[in-house]
Structure formats: structure tokens, C-alpha cells
Symmetry: D2
Subunit: 303 residues, 4 copies
């Protein structure tokens, strides 16, 4: 299989795609990004890396950070994390507050905003925000095997200034006894984790540990990796998760910055970036590109 050729062809097709979606506008700093960017990178189980497009340009990983904080939290707390957050698709938007009211402040899963706030709150136990963010960056750098991964302070400040919805979620969970820290502290840490910037190539490399393949960086036990992949499959694209599984057939996690991390278990870690989003807040071209990749490679886990 000539992955380089496949990637090149997909890159060319995406350049010509008529509908690039809409760049997220609720975080001012992100609203300025052009929808014309496109990049895709693949790291194989054999250790090769292929890229197309602007694969070295850093972008805001946003909610993709939730995969890595979940890995950190599971590594540190183990299954006791699941007393505070569920493992089911919510059937609602990424920032919905509806289910919390009747479900005792226990978010449905760690990939919707409420759930990710709980995960970050859990990692914060006994630590300062600065320490947690340092640990997260170290995790990402070790996973990627690269040091040049940073937080964009301007983006973090922009999220903080417009973060009322997340603060509402945090206060609501605090009122229901499912937050250990002050909402401002947990949200502040969360805003910074979302503001981490990585290039598409770095993101694919950082995702290699989720392949569960030999000879690659091992950040977590194999059973935990499988479970993170399962959650990415059922919950990784909010109320577009079913559609992503249907079209692509691989576990993935999207971010509002237009990135998606996709795992072909045992075979490859894939990152794609295109800032225009579809109605569910997932990258329009990114989804299309990985759908074509899955078709060309036969990597769908569904046969």
C-alpha cells in the first residue's frame, strides 16, 4: 500500500473541496484562523511517518487535549475516575448542561466539556495548575518524541474571557458535589490545556501510543488504551460520533480548532487539520479526508 501516494491524492482532493465548513467563532483568537489550511499526517506501526499539506504548522488542539488528560487521569487514578464521569454517548451537544441536572452532576463521558472538566479537576488533586499543565506537556512531548510543544497564552486568555459556558458547567457540578476545586481554578487549567498548540505531524506522533503496537512509546497499559479508543469511537465527536463511526469506522477525537486525531488500532495514528467545522463542531474536510483514507486503506475496524 502506497501511503504517500494516497496522502498526496487526498491532499489534492481537499484543496479542491467546495465546502470547507465554518471556522469556530466563539473563541475570538480562533476565529481569525483561515479555513484554507489543510494538513494530514500518518505514523504507522512500522515507525514510518507520512504527511501532506502544512503538517508543520502548529494549531490549537483544543478538545483533542481531552484524550491526553484522560490518559493521565486513568494512569494516576485508575478506574476510580469512573465514579465521577460516565462512559456513554450523551446524544447532546459538546457543551450541553441538560443531563447534569437530572444525573447528579455526573457527566455522560470524558469527552464532552463537562466530563473533561471533571477529568482535569481529578488530575488537579494535590497539585497546582502549573504543575498539571507541565505534566501534560511532558506527557505530550514524550509521546511525540519532540520538545517543541507549547501552550498559546493568547488563546488561553481568549478562552478565559469567553468561557462562561464552561464556568456554568463547572459551577453546576460544584453545586452537585462533583468538583474538588474552585470552578475558576479547574476552568483556568482547562482553558490552558485546550490552548496547547501542536503541528499535525506532532499530533500524529503523540497519538502513536494509542495504536497498541510494539516498538512504539508506551504511555499506558494495553487494556487502558483499548478503552480510550472505545470512548473515542462512541463519544469522540459529540453528537456527530455515530456519523463519524458510520463514515470512517475508526476511533477519533476532534477539536474545535479543526484538528482530529484518529487511531487505526495496531496500524497507524493519523492526524488531520482543517479549521472549517461542520454543524456538530467537527472539522468538515478533516472528516472527509479520514473517510477517504479509511476507504483507500481498508483500515475500518468494521470489516
Amino acid at each position: 500500500m502506497d501511503l504517500a501516494a494516497i496522502l498526496t491524492r487526498i491532499g489534492a482532493e481537499m484543496q479542491a473541496a467546495p465546502d470547507r465548513g465554518r471556522v469556530a467563532d466563539y473563541i475570538p483568537e480562533l476565529a481569525r484562523v483561515s479555513p484554507d489550511h489543510f494538513a494530514m499526517a500518518i505514523c504507522t506501526a512500522e515507525g514510518e511517518t507520512f504527511t501532506t499539506g502544512e503538517a508543520e504548522t502548529p494549531f490549537s488542539i483544543q478538545s483533542i487535549s481531552k484524550v491526553f488528560t484522560l490518559a493521565l487521569a486513568l494512569g494516576r487514578l485508575g478506574d476510580q475516575l469512573w465514579t465521577r464521569v460516565g462512559r456513554e454517548p450523551s446524544g447532546l451537544a459538546f457543551n450541553s448542561i441538560l443531563q447534569l441536572e437530572h444525573e447528579n452532576g455526573i457527566p455522560r463521558n470524558p469527552f464532552i466539556n463537562a466530563g473533561a472538566l471533571v477529568v482535569t479537576d481529578a488530575i488537579l488533586a494535590g497539585h497546582k495548575p502549573r504543575e498539571v499543565l507541565g505534566e501534560l506537556l511532558r506527557f505530550l512531548r514524550e509521546a511525540a518524541g519532540e520538545d517543541d510543544i507549547h501552550i498559546n497564552r493568547a488563546v488561553a486568555a481568549s478562552e478565559q474571557a469567553t468561557g462562561h459556558r464552561n464556568l456554568a458547567l463547572a459551577h453546576f457540578m460544584a453545586a452537585q458535589g462533583n468538583l474538588l476545586h474552585a470552578p475558576e481554578l479547574t476552568c483556568g487549567t482547562y482553558f490552558h490545556q485546550c490552548a496547547i498548540e501542536m503541528s499535525t505531524r506532532q499530533l500524529a506522533r503523540a497519538g502513536r501510543f494509542l495504536m497498541n503496537a510494539p516498538g512504539l512509546p508506551r504511555m499506558l497499559g494495553a487494556a487502558r488504551v483499548r478503552r480510550i479508543n472505545a470512548l473515542m469511537m462512541t463519544c469522540g465527536h459529540y453528537d456527530g460520533s455515530g456519523e463519524f463511526a458510520y463514515r470512517v469506522g475508526l476511533p477519533g477525537k476532534s477539536g474545535v480548532g479543526g484538528g482530529i486525531l484518529v487511531i487505526a488500532p495496531g496500524r497507524a495514528a493519523i492526524a488531520v487539520w482543517s479549521p472549517g467545522l461542520n454543524a456538530q463542531g467537527n472539522s468538515q474536510l478533516g472528516t472527509l479526508a479520514v473517510e477517504r483514507l479509511a476507504r483507500a486503506t481498508g483500515w475500518s475496524v468494521f470489516g
Copy 2:
């Protein structure tokens, strides 16, 4: 891998399991079934079949029939089916009516009751209920390669007598213009499809076409099979779908009769039966048994 030994061990473990769940009590005819039954069957891509427990005893497949009516509907209507039913997890119980009110009577997916009624309603177009049920039985017999598959009329009558909830769903969708036939007609057909009885071995054999493996009965194109598997993964266990993916890592579809059909793409079709259910209405021991099988075989699609 010694599948026979693995199956035997799991069968023994299940015999000793302390918590067998509760048999569904809202369909009188099913409430009489003992929770002590257990059976499991595996058909491999290589054409072998392994069983443990009462694998020849017929049971009511109930909602597992939704997989086969979906296959029929996709074969006959193709993607135009998706104008009437979605592809997302609902985040709600199997028989919930909540989302219909604000979503124009379009059910979230074909595996919740409302969605399955739409699928049956779609197959009915231009046909009599008797013809549709005949076609479904022929489909199952051909897929299983066995003729001894029938509808249990007593169970169908029992469902009809207590089917108010499904009739409510059907009338509600009729009011919103998403039902082609009289609610009584569509529901009547649906109650009969749910009352089909198969043995655990027959069910595993009927599921072989979902492996997408060469040399097996081919009932549908490979792309459609992948998509059915994707829907089974994200929606096959109602509001327990995330948990099933997390624990088992394979696409599956459960029925309130205690059966589950599970697919290991490219590798095996698995059926399990134990009538006691968990809180989400899925077989308690059945789920545990396939979880152990997935662990023992390494068949999880998640690496």
C-alpha cells in the same frame, strides 16, 4: 487459539455467576423464561462453529431482529432510508419518546424502538405484513443456512396485547408524517419480527455475513456491512452502548429476550443467550461472557 476450550471455560464461569440479572417482565410470555439458561456459539471466518450450553434451544430474538430488517431495508432502499432515521446514539432508553417531539419524528437510529418501527414501515411499502415477515424469515434462513427458524405466535400475541408504548411511538411519528402505514399495521409487523425464535447456534450462523469474510454467505455489499457494524457499535445496546464498547470492544446488538449478536469483523460471528437483563435491558451474563471472550481472544477492534 483453542476456541473450544475458551468457550467451555466461559460456559463454566457463567454457570457459577452469582448475579444473573432480571428477566424482562413487561412481555408476559417472556417473563416466564427461567434466568438459568445460558448458551454461546461462535462461527469463525474459517467456517468452524463452536458452542457451549443450550445452543440448540430456540429463544426470542426480539430486538436483534432489527439488525436483519435494517439489512433488508438498506438492500431494498439504499441510503434513502436515512432521510427517515438517523445514525446517532440517542443517549436515552430503548423506548423513549422524548427526542421525537423536537426532532420532527425522525428517530435517532434504527436500533431504538422508534427507529426500528420506521425501518419496518419502510420495508412494508408495497407489501403485506405477511410478505415482509416471509421475506425476513427467508433472509434469516439463507443467512443461517438452516430452515428451522420460525415466529412464535404466542409471543407475538403477547407483545401485541402489551404494545401500547410502541403504538404510542408509531402514532407519534404518524402525527409527524414519518409513518407510511397505519400504526397498527406497522406495529403488528414489528411485534411479529420480534417474536422470531432462533437457537444461539442459528443466530451466530445468521450473523456470519456481517464478518465481511470471504467464502461465507454474502447478503449485502461490504461497505453496507461495515456501516451496520458501526451502528451496532455506537447504538446496539441503547443507553448501554458506550459501556458495551468499553468492556467488549466489538459491535453487538442485544434483545430483551436475553440474546446478543456480536461481530468480530473478519474473524467471527458470536451469539450468546442468557435471559437475565441488566439495568439497560441487555443480557447481564451475555455481556460478561462476550467481554471474557474478547479478552481471551484479543478480538477487540480497539487494539
Copy 3:
């Protein structure tokens, strides 16, 4: 106070009103009624009757019938009716099914459709639909002191043919054990009660017993009358009840045929009819007309 002059003035103002709302279109037989009709009638505690407009033209009273079936049900069953239906505003549309799912099939109040179905179902106990409809007509004729009040069979048939939403409510409540009769039977009776036709003058006269004034027909004890008025105030206009209380300040019950029955306790019974509806399904001009009447007379109960 010159009620005749006030009525004449309001009638003239309504003739000139620019926005008459939209005639209900979901019951075909009602959709054919012209929005140009207008009539208003007042029966005072002193026994006088004043009218303006087409006060002798019969129209479909629709949901206003719910006031009279509630009176019948309370007269026959007393407070045990309240085990099956609540007394709170629903905060939702007249035909919403949402609250039933999580509230055990107990409708919020007797004036939303689900609640009215329960009331009719309660009156049916031990009786045939024909008997119940006969009793209701006798009640109305006695209350109005007129015999010429009938059911329009064409309207009843039209509602039956398009009554899926009400059948959905009835089946849903049947599934939850809050319906004594077959949904078709209860709904059939309900469709006929809604198809009763009365003139605006007849409706005002039939409402006199709700004034709790001496010397008028007495159909129910004073305490029960007060409570029916209270329910009309908080729940009589569905999710427009708060607005009606705010603007008019009197208890009232609207029907989708464009009628409203309004009570000024101790003072007057008022009926108004204009078929064009506002967004909440209540008569647009009817509401405006009684708002002006309340202002001109100072009859608001709120001081």
C-alpha cells in the same frame, strides 16, 4: 357601567384589527373556517346578556369542552380524580408528550390534551361513549338553559382521521397504567366532545355557573367552582397561560376553534370567538377583546 356600549366599541375595534392570527390547519374541517368571524357575549350576575358580532353562529368549542368534562368528573369522582392528573402548569405545548415519560404517565393538569384524555377516561368508567357524550350535552344544555347544542359529526370524523398525536398520548398513558379504556375508545369520545358546537351566546350562558353568583344555574359546589377557576387561570391557555393572566387578569379556557370562555368571578361569564390563533394556539383577537373588556370594566381579579 354601560356594558352594551363597551361591547359595541370592542366589536368595532376588532373588525379593524390588522392581525387576526392564523386559523388552525391540523384539523381539516376547522381549517376551512374564515378568520373574519368575531363574536362576544357577556352574561352578568344580574342575569343580563349582552352580545356583539355573530353571537348566534355556532362554532367548534374544542378544548373549552375540557372545562365541562372536568366539572362532570369532579362532580362524579370528587378529589380522587387528582390521583390521575395534576394541577400544575406544564410549561409546554398543549399536545406535548415530554413530561409523561418521566412523570409516570400522570399529566400535569386537566387542560392539556393528555390531562383531558384522563378526565374523559375517568368519566367513561362504567359507561358507553354514547352515554357520556349524552350526559355532557345534557350538562351543557342545562347550564346554558338552551337545547340547541349538538356535536358536529363531520368535525369529529375529521379529528379522528388526524388524531395520531392524541392517540400517541393515550397509548403512552395506557403503557404507564393511567388509562382505563382502550385508547381508541377514550380518544373517540374525546374527539366527539371537542366537536361540540355552540354559539358564542350559548357558551357565555353555559359558563354562568362558574361565576359563583346567586340566582344562576348551580351545577357544582362553590368550592369546586373556585378550583376550576384557579385551574383556568394557571393552566387554561397552555404555555400562554401566564401571558393571559398578565394581560387579562381573569380565568379563561381557550379552544383551537377560536373560542375562549372567561369568568369574572361573582360578576360575569364571557365568551368570545374569533378563529385566527396566536403562536400558542389561542384566539388572537379573542384574547385582545377580553383584555380590552377587562380594562374597560376593571374586572381583573388582580386589583
Copy 4:
């Protein structure tokens, strides 16, 4: 009518009442109040005042303050307030966040917490919290004709420390563009207004302007007074408003401190206090006491 005797009898009956409800426990400072307190006061249109029980003991008026801030806001902003808050019963608990998500952050009415926060936020425009609280106290002192009305700083601090739910509501509305000030500022002012303490006698006197009777303090135009009464009738007791209208038949506003302000338009302003609450968060004995008063006096507005 011997109001003094009626009050004395009701007071005695309440002393003997077996079920006093439960004191609110989510505000620590309030949780310490004994459920044994009881007081009732009536100010008539003729200028007389009658009391029973501990009518001089100050208690925390809590949500009853919402009536007075609404009066202030309507006096200052007029009907433009209604672009930011509705006039319908919510059908949900006092602190529910559910409707905000799908209704653009516009609370259903000014008496649920979200709506009261919007009212306070509106009064804050161009003013400091201290100024607004000063104006509110002046309003209350003028309405009551007494100076000894104050904010209990310890209660305000207690609410602040446990006010996550209200902060969640405020942040949620801020995210939807329906809050002019920082959530902490609006909530801080709100917590202080709720912590105002008045005696039962003072509260009845402060409510006199809502009678719309001649010769009494006039704080607002007659039409506005009527409308506030209408809102108290349909929304004053949260999801227990229908029940209060049904049992008592008078507009009222309750507070979680166990107080209720009730208006008999044109006749009397009534205050009652008993700290034990029913399931909807309204005073258990207070409701019973005004129910008996309404029956004894015939003051129900419903005839």
C-alpha cells in the same frame, strides 16, 4: 368579619399541626432556624393590622425579595424588561437550568432564580451593588413605613459560599448574552437582596401597595401592580404555583426562609412565616395557614 379572631384560631391550629415540613438545608445559615416558629400578619385596605404568633421576629425574606426587585425594575425600565425575561410558569423547579439551554438564556419568569438574576442585573445597570441594595432597602422601608429593615451579612456570606447553582445560572445566561454584568457581581447583589430580614408584620405592611387600594402607600401604577399580582399567581410558588392557586386562590410569593407574601387585591396584604418547607420549597404551614384564611374570609379571587 372578625379578623383578629380568625387569626388567633389559625395561629392555634398551626401550633398543633403535626407536619411542619423541613427547614431548607442548602444554605447553612438558614438550616439552623427552628421549624417551630410561626407568625401571620394582615394589613387591611382600611389601614388596620392584625397579627398572631412571633410577628415581630425578623426572618430571611429570601425569594420574596424578587417581588420588590421586580417592582423596582418595572418602575425604572418599564416593559423593556420583558425582552430579557418571560411571563410564563416554567413547570420546573426554582433553580432549574434546563429551559435556558433551548430558550436563548431568556428565563421563563422573574420569580424563578434565573429570572430574578436577570431582574437584579437590569437594576444594576449604571449602579454599584451597594447603591442598588440601598435603593431596595429604601423601597422596602417606604413601603412598610418602617426603618428597621436590614440585610443580614452572615446570611449573605453563607449564600455566597454555597451559591454555585446561581453562579451556574448567571454564567449560562452570560454565555447567551443575557447578563450585563460579571456573574459574580450580579450574584453577589442577589445574595444580599435575599438576605434581607423583615418581621412578618413588616412584610405584610411592605406588601400593602400591591392591594391597589386607596389611601395606602403607592409605589407603582395600578396596571403594573395588577400585573405583578398576576405573575405571583401563575409563577409565585415555582412548580407549586398551580397548587397554591388551587388551594388558596390568591397571588403569593414564597421564600425559602419560610415566608410567604400573599395579596387579596383591594382587601388585604398578608404575610406568614413558618420555616419548614414542603417538597416544592414553599412553607408547609404558611401555605396551610393562608388556605384557611382564604376560606374563612372568602377572599379567594375565584368566586
